[in-house]
Structure formats: structure tokens, C-alpha cells
């Protein structure tokens, strides 16, 4: 939404303040995406490992596809974040109104839309990751009580990590303030 814009004293904000905080936000974003990417990859590889002899070929194929998909998504997200501005440093120096970056720079990927899309993809990935164990547990030959206990354990993870966490993250991307 564009509305009437009134600028007042944005120039009074010292560049040293804006630069440090934007750079910090940039690092936090990078660390978040890399850590969550590796953790999800680890979970998928763990599924592959524990079901090596027990699960069907279809299950292994799904897990392998998910592993490849996870690697691709993390790589894309990484490059989107690093090169959201070019030259990279202008991501945090462009708000310095007193001494703006010299020369031409572009920030084609700096916006919320790519990240909302990627958060949407992450929701799907989390949902599949959380659902996969149920496929194996269904055919597990254990007592009914043990099966219920296992389902409950995975369901807690499903609820907290799989859905709630990602949805909150997406919401915070959308209304990031």
C-alpha cells in the first residue's frame, strides 16, 4: 500500500546506529536459515538411517526427494539473503542518510515476498518431515500401548515444531514489526 509520504527527521538517525543493527539482522537471518536447514537435513537423513531395512522403497524415495529439495531450498534461501543487495554491504549502509553508499547499487531481492514464499515452502517441508514417521509407525509390530506412546511423542513434535513454529515464523515475516 502506498500512501502520502511525509519525511521528517530520518536524517537525524546516526548511520553508525542503523548500519550496526541492519548488519546484525543480516547475520541473524543467515545463521537462522543455515542452522534450520542443516537440522532439517539431519532429521531426514536420520529417517533414512533408522528405516534402512524396515521401510518400503517408496518411503526411501520420498525421503531422498525431500533431502534434495531441502538442500536446494536452503541454497536458494542462502543466496537470496546474501545477495539481497549488490554490492552486499549496501544492505546495511543504505540507511545511513548522512553518508549514503557511493555509486550505484541495487536491492532486487530485498523484500518480504521471496521470504514469505520460502516460509510457505518451509511449512510444507516441515509438514512432510513431521508426517513421514507416521507412515513407518503404522506398520510397526509393537504392543498397542507402545504404539500409542510413539504416536503421542511424534504428534507433540508435529504440533510444536512442524506446524506452530513455522506458522509463527511466517506470520512474523509477514507482520515483521
Amino acid at each position: 500500500m502506498m500512501a502520502k509520504v511525509e519525511y521528517h527527521d530520518l536524517s537525524t538517525v546516526p548511520g553508525s546506529c542503523t548500519n550496526a543493527k541492519t548488519q546484525l539482522a543480516w547475520w541473524l537471518k543467515l545463521e537462522y536459515l543455515l542452522s534450520s536447514g542443516f537440522i532439517k537435513l539431519s532429521i531426514l537423513l536420520f529417517y533414512r538411517r533408522i528405516t534402512q531395512r524396515a521401510a518400503s522403497k517408496t518411503f526411501h524415495t520420498i525421503v531422498t526427494i525431500m533431502v534434495v529439495f531441502q538442500i536446494c531450498t536452503t541454497a536458494v534461501w542462502f543466496f537470496l539473503t546474501v545477495f539481497s543487495c549488490y554490492p552486499v554491504a549496501t544492505y546495511w549502509t543504505r540507511f545511513d542518510m548522512a553518508s549514503p553508499p557511493s555509486g550505484h547499487y541495487v536491492c532486487p531481492l530485498d523484500g518480504e515476498k521471496p521470504f514469505i514464499i520460502l516460509s510457505g515452502i518451509a511449512i510444507v517441508q516441515d509438514f512432510i518431515c513431521a508426517t513421514l514417521p507416521f507412515l513407518v509407525l503404522r506398520h510397526l509390530k509393537v504392543t498397542r500401548r507402545q504404539k500409542v506412546a510413539l504416536f503421542c511423542t511424534f504428534f507433540i513434535a508435529f504440533g510444536i515444531c512442524g506446524v506452530a513454529g513455522t506458522c509463527i515464523r511466517m506470520k512474523s515475516q509477514e507482520a515483521y514489526d
Binding site: M1, E6, Y7, K21, L24, E31, L45, H104, S172, Y176
Partner: protein, 150 residues
């Protein structure tokens, strides 16, 4: 960018696309800026990060110890998990650091410009009250470190 500041003192909209403003009556209702002894945000994020960061550290050490030392069969999934550690634990510490040092103060209104998502990290904590309009005239509920602005 040719020039951030135009001759008339206004900031070029080239870098501030998506900026919106609130009605003057709403702006007038906000308290004035206070840089001397600003209100502090509640330490919610710091507490959450400390609790879950500690739990994550303990469970990580437990998992890796059991796989590599007890069972002696660490696999590619464990190595992948280890690869996430250089990013996940600094993330916890940096979040605590950022929320306790940078993003914990409520300075109040400095000017009435609202910023879109990508501009807000630069201004938050620098004495700017950055709010994002939801396009329907409503003020979205603040999240995380930026709570209790209103």
C-alpha cells in the same frame, strides 16, 4: 542510488518504497520520544532463548555423545547435525545479545514515517518507531522484541 537526501530535505522515495503513514490523530496520540531513560521491553525473548538454548545444547551433547561414544556408529545425519552447530548456537547468543542491548528500548516516536519489513531492522532501536500498516487502517499487534510500543 543517486542521492538519499534531496535538496528540499526529503528522503528519496527510491529507497523507501512502500513507506506509509498513519493519520495525524493517531500519531498525536503516541507518547513523545524519550532517549534519556527509555522504557525497556520485557525480557521475554531473552528468557525463551536462554531456556530453549540450554535445552538444545544439552540434548545436542547427549545425542552426539550417545551416537559417537556409546553406540560408536555416528552417521552422516550426525555430521549434518554437527554442521548446524556453528550457526545455531551463535544464533541463540546473538539473539540474546541483540534483545538485551539493541532492541530492548522503547524510545518513542521520532517521526511519523512507517517502514516496510526490509527497512525496519535498521531503524528499530535507533530511536525510530517503525510500524507496518496492514493496509486496512489497523495497527498490527507488535511481535517479539518490539512489544509494548503502544
Amino acid at each position: 542510488m543517486a542521492s538519499a537526501m534531496q535538496a528540499n530535505g526529503q528522503v528519496s522515495s527510491e529507497i523507501l518504497a512502500g513507506v506509509v503513514t498513519y493519520p495525524q490523530s493517531v500519531i498525536d496520540s503516541w507518547p513523545p520520544a524519550n532517549f534519556v531513560n527509555p522504557t525497556l521491553h520485557p525480557p521475554t525473548i531473552i528468557i525463551y532463548s536462554a531456556i530453549f538454548g540450554t535445552l538444545a545444547l544439552a540434548s545436542t551433547i547427549g545425542r552426539l555423545w550417545s551416537r559417537f561414544k556409546v553406540q560408536g556408529n555416528g552417521g552422516v545425519d550426525d555430521w549434518c547435525f554437527m554442521a548446524s552447530l556453528p550457526f545455531s548456537f551463535p544464533l541463540v547468543f546473538m539473539t540474546i545479545n541483540a534483545c538485551s542491548r539493541f532492541y530492548n528500548k522503547v524510545f518513542g516516536l521520532v517521526h511519523n514515517v512507517l517502514f516496510s519489513t526490509n527497512q525496519f531492522p535498521a531503524l528499530l532501536g535507533c530511536g525510530i518507531r517503525a510500524r507496518r500498516d496492514d493496509g486496512k487502517g489497523r495497527i498490527p499487534r507488535p511481535l517479539d522484541c518490539t512489544r509494548q510500543l503502544y
